[in-house]
Symmetry: C2
Subunit: 98 residues, 2 copies
């Protein structure tokens, strides 16, 4: 359980909050002791935003110390409000300390 919590701290899930909140969240994570990786996750229309966050981090103050380790896409099935099963695309962008 402690292990799970530690893992979650390295994840920034992209939603509809102000854009720079997410950029700062990634930068703050990398500023923490022992943080080697931060995973930016998003679903559906927020995938474009996740790439924007990745790009802004990689051109911002910590640009010389982070690189993209891996980008993974997938689909998730969930039930919408009408009870119909729909698929949504997902992305996981793993940034690592150089």
């Amino acid at each position: 359980m402690a292990e799970n919590r530690k893992e979650d701290e390295n994840v920034v899930f992209i939603g509809s909050k102000p854009f720079m909140n997410y950029v700062r969240a990634v930068e703050v994570q990398f500023g923490r002791d022992g943080c080697k990786e931060v995973i930016v996750k998003a679903r559906g229309k927020f995938i474009s935003r996740a790439v924007d966050v990745e790009q802004v981090v990689k051109h911002g103050p910590i640009r010389n110390s982070v690189s993209t380790k891996n980008i993974k896409t997938d689909s998730e099935e969930f039930e919408n409000k009408e009870g119909r099963k729909v698929n949504v695309s997902t992305v996981e962008i793993t940034l690592e300390k150089k």
Copy 2:
């Protein structure tokens, strides 16, 4: 020049046409003789759509014969209508024949 043309034929650039047009375009490319790779490209808000296209292709009729080889993100600078330089995120999803 012939080389360039051949390369372009393997690229599907995602925009605002009906969604299934792009899915079919990828499937048609893979159906061509000697086609080993198709690159799905998108910029800005169309990045989410590019991932949707990739996922639908990978769950459709040719699901058993294609896999994702590489996903690359980047930024491009361009001048907007007001003459201001702005950055846009880009994605290139390379699908390959298994």
